[in-house]
Amino acid sequence: MKNEIIIAGFGGQGVLLAGTLLAQAAIEQGLHTTWFPSYGAEMRGGTANSTVVVSVDEIGSPLAFNPNALIALNEPSLNKFMPRMIEGSIIIANSSIIPSDKEYKIQPVFVPVTDISDKEIKNVKTANLVAVGALIKALELYASGNCGEDSHKRRQSAEETEGDLCDLEDTKILTLKSALAACEKAFSSKPELVEVNKKAIQAGYDFVKQL
């Protein structure tokens, strides 16, 4: 398994943090990982992105040459990165602010992460982690779809089997459990934020599960 994940949005939407959380989750599972930020001149308002590579093998470039997963928190990001995504990529699009009725080269999974963070989590700053939860579930569903009928059932409860979907090393993927564990690390200096962000990840995960 190798996922080259791009997380993109407005500066200030937490795309760097969302990336570090995914990378930390990979560490929790003993996977190889790299995280790479866009470090442009803009501090706020412009588009920002981070790239996370997660792999069972040693990673060469930390930049995504063949990106196969995208979190687009705003429309410019979706438009910018869509052309670069390889066929069959998983794309989480923030449908709170991205129109879902347009034609796209690759059909995104639309998740209203801003609305979910606002209404369910009561903290709009957690939209990035709602998207992370959504991505984890979407990747899991994708992986289970690719692993053949036989192990399909086991894969449906991947969160309990810690992502060892096909019992094969090369299909190992990020799990909800490790993302939640990563949350404790990522917010260790602000413990009051651990629970709310865990809730956000779970909410995104559940949203995609129910689709």
Binding site: A23, F36, S61, P62, L63, F65, K185
Partner: protein, 348 residues
Amino acid sequence: MKKLVKGNIALCEGAIAAGLKSYFGYPITPQNEVPAYLSRKMVELGRVFVQAESEIAAANMVLGAAVTGARAMTSSSSPGISLKQEAISYMAGMQIPALIVNIQRGGPGLGNISGAQSDYFQAVKGGGHGDYRLIVLAPNSVQEMYEMAYDSFDLAEKYRTPVMILADGIVGQMMEPVEFNRPEKKDFEEKSWHLNGCKGRAPRSIQSLLMKDGVLEKHNINLQEKYKTISKNEARFETYKTDDARVIITAYGISSRIAKSAVKLARKEGIKAGLFRPKTLWPFPSEAIAALAKPGVKFLSAELSHGQMIEDVKLAVNGKVPVEFLGKAGGAIITEQEIVIKIKEMIK
């Protein structure tokens, strides 16, 4: 469990563990994490941090701290490294150990802030004036940023010479799991040369100005002897699947990781490719490259430049086998697929 940190932060931790006493720097992207991190950390540790008025001043502050025997460093990115060359040349001439870090960006001039490898010549061929060399280390991972920063001070002191870490914006900015696995250095040997006041001994001076007849000539001969010893002892490299390789890629730093992926891709297609990765750019592992330059082998220098390290590869193989080039500069990145295409062309 390993920690997830940026290359620039790992570098700081390595230097701190090695006993870094004084840091002097100036902000420039993509190395800003270094002064920002150390501005807090060094003060908390009761050590020295100064944001200098310029790269020039920062490098000269390092000279001042290091002349007293303390472990000192500065860091910058390409345009700032140009400004530090004056002090670097002086430190080489004065035989002062210190660490200079270059988190390379695109050039020439102000260039851009993307990672690049266009400062190879500057780092290994002099940069400043005079016949001198720097030991140049080229990390390709966050772990190596930590380890090479740690090792650099021992190397610098062993040979009384400035050491440069030549990384780039990608290695500096990326995060990877890293293990801070080196012991904190606390005890340092009393030096025979440093300036700490002449109590109980004759006064010392440290200088590169040697005007008396023949003195500078002799000094230069001594320096060259030292550089010969370093060349003999300290050339470091690693190889990957070079044994049966028909095409051996030479690449350092971030390029070497992309090249390794390319080797794996090529091998999947049954193409015998290999990688030779210098970990020290000076001394350059010429002998090891020469030993691989057997009939039928071709070399490919892959760089984020328009062809700098390739000159040393060519010198090393000394015309025995062909050496080709693949590179991009100005912040552009060569991909593993592009390398594989090039390899295929080479073995056609």
